[in-house]
Point group: C2
Chain length 377, copies 2
C-alpha cells in the first residue's frame, strides 16, 4: 500500500488547497485501515486467528492536534482479551481518536510510535520494529562499506543517531520508548522467519551486558544550512531578538553557537533545515539586522553536519581532539563545532562530508567489534 | 473514487481466497471514509462549514451480519448539534458498527439505505437521493425514446419498478423509506444547483395531489431464466419438494407458477437469476426429478420478463387483457404470466423484450401526461 496515503492527501489538496486538518485525518487514516485488514486476512490464510483494530477500536486516545496528535492513553482490555484467547492482534498505526471521537493521526513517525506505545500499554518484554534495514550501523554502509552493525545501542546514543540523520527509526518513537522504558529491537522485514538474526537492541545502559565501545557511530546530515549574524551587540536578550522572529515563522533551528565577544560585539551562528534557508535569511535581513544593528548576515546552504556519537565520551577524554586532528589530517576545515555529553558535531563543507565520515570511522576503528564485558553467571 | 472499493476487495481476495467477512468490512469501509473527507474539504473550499462522520462516529448501530448488516439504530444527537450550529453534516454511507464496535458494511444498496435511515432518524421532511439519472421514467428511455419522467410515483409502484429491473434506486432503500414513511426524491447529480428541476418524488398514495395514471411504468429484466418441472404429481408438499433443494443451494427464485392439474399431474414453473440457471437445472435433474417421479425438467435461459406497474390496476378492470392483446398483435408469444395487485408480468422470448416494452408503452399512452387532480387550496 506504499504511496497510497500520499496519493489520497494529494487528491485532498486538489479538492481544497487549504484542507482542514480534521478531514485530512479522516482521509489519511484509511491507508493503515486497509493494511490491517489485509494483514489479518494474510495471517488467517496461514491458519492464525488474527483480528484487526483501528485506532478508535482499541481505542488509542490522543490529543486533538490533528495531523500531529500525541498519544494520551491506550485502553488495553480488548487487546488483552484477544491475546489471552490466543489471537494475533493487529492495530493500525499512525492513528487514534480524541476525546470527542474525532479521528486523529500522529504525523511523521506515528506508526513506529504506535508500536512502542502499544508495547508500553501491554507492558511487553520487547517491541520489535521491522524495517527496511536489518539494524543500526556504526554509520551508513553506503558511505563506509566497513560499517558494522551494532548488536546493542543505548537510547541516548540512538536518539543522537536518529536525530542526526540515521533514518532507521523515527526519533519520536525512540523518545517514547525511552520515556516508558520499552526495549526496542530493530529487525529487517526481509529476514527469514527462522533466522537467528536478532538485529539491534536499543536498551538502557544499566540493563545489559553492553558493548564497551566509546564511540558507537557516526551520523551525518546534509539537509541543513548555516547562518551567521555578524557584529551582534553582546547584551542580554540578543539571542531571543535573533531567534524569536525565526521561531515565529515556524522555522526549526538545530545547532546554535555564540562565541565570546570582543569589544562588545559577537557573531551569532545557527543552522536551519535547508528548505527554510532562504526564508530565514529574508527574515534576518529585513527585520532582525536593522532592529539589533548587526553588521551583516551571511549564510551557506552547501554544508553538512558530521557527528560522532558515543556514551563513552562521558568518561573518555581527548575524543574531540582526536576527531579534529583526523579531519585536519585530511585538510577538512571545520566551520562550526557543537558538543553534548555523548556527541560532538562539526559543520564542514558539503563536499567533504563523505570523506569526513570515512576518516572518522577509520580513526575510531568502528569496523572492529568492541570487547565484551563478561556475562554475569 | 469509483472502482476503488472493488479494487481493494479484489486485493483482499488475492491475499486470502476465503477472506473473513469482518476484515472485508474493515477494508471496504475505507472507500466511503475517503469520500466523506474529500466532500467535506470540497464544501469547505466553497465557504461552507462542513464536517464528515464515519459510521462509528455517528454512530450507526447495525447487527453483526458482516458485509450485509442491517441498521438497528442511529444516534442523532451529534448530527443535530452540528445542524443546529449551521454545519453541513456528511455521513459515510454503507457502513456502521455492531454492538461490539466491529466495523460492518450494509452490502448492496447500503449507501442509499444509509441516506434514508438518516432522514428517518432526523425526521427530515424529505430525503433527496442524487443519482446518475434525473428521476424515475415510465420505462428506460434507451428503449422507448418517448418515455416520460414521472413527477411522483407511489412507494408500492416504486418497489415493483425497482425490483423488476429499474436501476434508479436500490429496492432496499425504497423498502426502508416505506417502513419509516420517509419521502424520497430522486434527482440527478448532474443537474445545475440553481435548476428548478425537482426530479421524481416517491411518496404515499394518500398524501399528495397524485397523478391519476392507471399505469405508471414498464419494467423489464433479462437477467432471469425459466425452469419447468414437467408431469409433477399434484399432491401436498410438492412445491416444497421442488424449491427446498433450490433454496438450500442459496438460489433465489422470482416468479413461481403452478397450473391446475389434469389427471393428477401438473407442470411447475419458476424463474431464477440467469447465473444460477445451470446449477438449478443440475439440482433438479439429479435430485428432485427422481425423488418426486417427475416426467422431466426443461428450461430456457433466453427469456425476459416485462412488467406493467400501476396503482390504478387495483380499480381498473381489463388492464391485463389489453396488455395480452397488444403483445398478441405483434405476434409475441407469452410463456408465463404472473400478477400482483399493482403489476402484471409476462415472460417472453428475450429477442422480443424491447418490442414488448415499446408496444406496451404506446398502448397505455405512457408518453402523455396524465390529468392532475386539482390542488387543494
Amino acid at each position: 500500500m506504499a504511496g497510497e496515503t500520499n496519493r489520497l492527501l494529494a487528491l485532498a489538496r486538489e479538492v481544497n488547497p487549504e484542507p482542514s486538518a480534521r478531514e485530512l485525518d479522516v482521509i489519511a487514516s484509511t491507508g493503515e485501515q486497509v493494511t490491517i485488514g489485509l494483514l489479518a486476512l494474510a495471517l488467517q490464510h496461514q491458519g492464525l486467528e488474527a483480528r484487526s483494530y483501528t485506532g478508535w477500536q482499541v481505542p488509542i486516545l490522543t490529543d486533538s492536534a490533528h495531523t500531529k496528535a500525541r498519544i494520551l492513553h491506550i485502553e488495553d482490555s480488548r487487546m488483552r482479551a484477544d491475546l489471552a484467547a490466543g489471537r494475533v492482534v493487529i492495530v493500525a498505526g499512525f492513528q487514534g481518536i480524541d476525546e470527542r471521537n474525532n479521528i486523529t493521526t500522529l504525523g511523521r513517525g506515528g506508526s513506529d510510535t504506535t508500536g512502542v506505545a502499544l508495547a508500553a500499554a501491554l507492558k511487553a518484554d520487547e517491541c520489535q520494529i521491522y524495517t527496511d534495514v536489518d539494524g543500526v550501523y556504526t554509520t551508513d554502509p553506503r558511505i563506509v562499506p566497513e560499517a558494522r552493525r551494532l548488536s546493542t545501542v543505548t537510547f541516548e546514543e540512538m536518539l543522537e543517531l536518529a536525530s542526526l540523520g540515521s533514518k532507521v527509526l523515527q526519533i519520536r518513537s525512540v523518545e517514547f520508548a525511552g520515556k516508558y522504558k520499552v526495549k526496542l529491537r530493530v529487525l529487517s522485514s526481509f529476514t527469514d522467519v527462522d533466522s537467528t538474526d536478532m538485529g539491534t537492541l536499543i536498551t538502557f545502559e544499566e540493563d545489559e551486558n553492553m558493548e564497551q565501545a566509546i564511540i558507537s557511530g557516526i551520523a551525518f546530515n546534509r539537509d541543513e544550512a548555516k547562518i551567521t549574524v555578524l557584529g551582534v551587540p553582546d547584551r542580554p536578550g540578543i539571542a531571543f531578538s535573533i531567534l524569536g522572529p525565526i521561531a515565529d515563522a515556524n522555522i526549526e533551528v538545530d545547532m546554535i553557537i555564540q562565541n565570546a565577544s570582543t569589544q562588545g560585539l559577537t557573531d551569532f551562528s545557527f543552522t536551519v533545515n535547508r528548505p527554510d534557508y532562504k526564508r530565514a535569511m529574508q527574515i534576518l535581513e529585513a527585520k532582525v539586522q536593522p532592529a539589533i544593528s548587526a553588521r551583516g548576515v551571511v549564510g551557506d546552504d552547501r554544508i553538512a553536519k558530521v557527528s560522532l556519537v558515543g556514551i563513552g565520551m562521558r568518561t573518555h577524554a581527548g575524543i574531540a581532539a582526536k576527531m579534529f586532528g583526523a579531519l585536519a589530517g585530511e585538510g577538512i576545515n571545520i566551520q562550526m563545532i557543537s558538543t553534548s555529553e555523548i556527541k560532538t558535531s562539526v559543520v564542514v563543507d558539503e563536499k567533504y562530508m563523505e570523506l569526513a565520515v570515512r576518516v572518522l570511522h577509520k580513526t575510531f576503528e568502528l569496523e572492529k567489534e568492541p570487547e565484551q564485558e563478561l556475562k554475569k553467571a
